[in-house]
Amino acid sequence: MSAFPHRHLLGIEPLEPADIQVVLDTADGLKEVLDRPIKKVPVLRGKTVVNLFYEASTRTRSSFEIAEKVLSADSLSISTATSSVQKGETLLDTAKNLEAMNPDMIVIRHASSGAPHFLARHCRSAIVNAGDGAHEHPTQALLDALTLRQRKGRLKGLRVAIVGDLLHSRVARSNLWLLSKMGASVVLCAPPTLVPPGIERLAPVTWRIEEAVEGADAIMVLRIQRERMTGGYLPSPREFFNRFGLTEERVRRAKKDVLILHPGPMNRGVEIASEVADGPYSVILDQVTNGVAVRMAVLYLLLGGGAGAAS
């Protein structure tokens, strides 16, 4: 049995449903380590992981760092704000220099779509995509799926509404792939200016949030990036909230046991009302905990034997 026959985790799109199942099952098994008095197991002792973050990140980066520490890997986090990138070094040169230090894995976040794939072609290390441009954020989709599966007991047959900035969201793409592969039905909702062309081929799109959340088992709210509000995409945050914000009233249209997810950081009063973010249906903090478990699973599967280590 080869549990996870991949050398890298570059996105959800190339994964089979069985691969996703393995990651989720492994994360479920590993989550218990986080509740132990000593939150450390020796499984990745002697492995080195470089976290290479070309974009600001609090949640994802600290989640990877905790996962690496819990599994006893040695880790090094590089923020480009304080690295040679500021002196004009290219991604390839940075990667080649890091590679010369022989890390076992590079976790990369980059503003350009395809940057992790580029590294995977040029480096021997296992590469994990921690978010590339508006393309994919596979570990976020996996942790969302883990949260849904834990609460609902399944993914197949769930109706999930993804609401917010679809155009710039890598989270939306990864979730759309994952949920579709696992048999959930997805409905997308965004203002016309924030709907990427062609996405309607993958899932139905509506401009009315009331329609999207009707009968939903889960609502995934995407972050509206305030800096992009000035780019002509939206008239104002207030208007967005009035038309697309997830309010208590709108949540009542969903199923009684609906789950509210948000990848963070949240803009309260823009894409989500505070009462909803802190309300009884919110699993936003469960997502954060599950994020560590999923990243532990990815490290474990890519670095511990299997296809990745063998090749």
């Binding site: 393995v22 380590v33 132990r36 499984v43 034997g305």
Partner: protein, 205 residues
């Protein structure tokens, strides 16, 4: 990709009745050493150690009136051969919902072989607390130790050849009870034969 090596059944070492009698005897051996069961807990090594620990706990309750708590250890995160194995085990999680501090912990597993699983279990237990004492109970001790580890309670000790496999079947996991002796057919020999055949073919050209 090469699948698991083919195995052939050589002998039935224990049938269901023998498994039941052996566990009953082991429970009495535990009671002889620990007349007061209140300080004793059982921790089964996943996967077959867990149902064995539960059965022992039931037998101990019948015999002493005190049922020891049962936990489950998944040792896959503590294996020292992790990076050498061909595929990752799926971790199923460790569950020890009680304190082991100051207790006697009896680690239960189905087969004692090289001792590496038990070493991993000991490492993991130490991360959970400081027991007064750790003991080991196994249904079958088949020898071939690579570490200085011995069982305190062994249901049956067997002299086996290295290439043989002792397979414990339990109704909770496998639908029936029993212990089988299997032999792995060496794939290397088959491949060696094929290589020799190809070499002969090349020499013949």
């Amino acid at each position: 990709m090469a699948g698991p090596s083919p195995q052939i059944e050589k002998a039935v070492l224990m049938d269901a009745g023998r498994v039941a009698r052996t566990l009953a005897r082991m429970a009495h051996e535990i009671l002889e050493r620990h007349p007061d069961m209140r300080g004793v807990v059982l921790v089964g090594v996943r996967s077959r150690g867990v149902p064995l620990a539960r059965r022992l706990a039931g037998l101990l309750r019948e015999a002493s009136g005190v049922e020891p708590a049962v936990g489950a250890l998944d040792i896959s995160l503590y294996r020292d051969d992790f990076t050498m194995i061909a595929s990752q085990p799926i971790t199923k999680g460790t569950e020890i919902p009680f304190s082991i501090d100051g207790r006697t912990v009896i680690v239960v597993d189905d087969v004692l072989f090289t001792g590496r699983t038990v070493r991993a279990a000991l490492d993991q237990l130490i991360d959970f607390g400081r027991p007064d004492r750790i003991e080991l109970a196994v249904l079958v001790d088949r020898g071939h130790r690579e570490l200085p580890i011995r069982a305190d309670y062994a249901g049956r000790s067997l002299a086996t050849a290295r290439q043989e496999i002792v397979q414990v079947l339990l109704r909770e996991e496998d639908g029936r009870d029993g212990v089988l002796l299997l032999e792995r057919r060496a794939r290397r020999a088959q491949r060696g034969g094929a290589r020799r055949g190809r070499a002969r073919g090349r020499r013949g050209k």
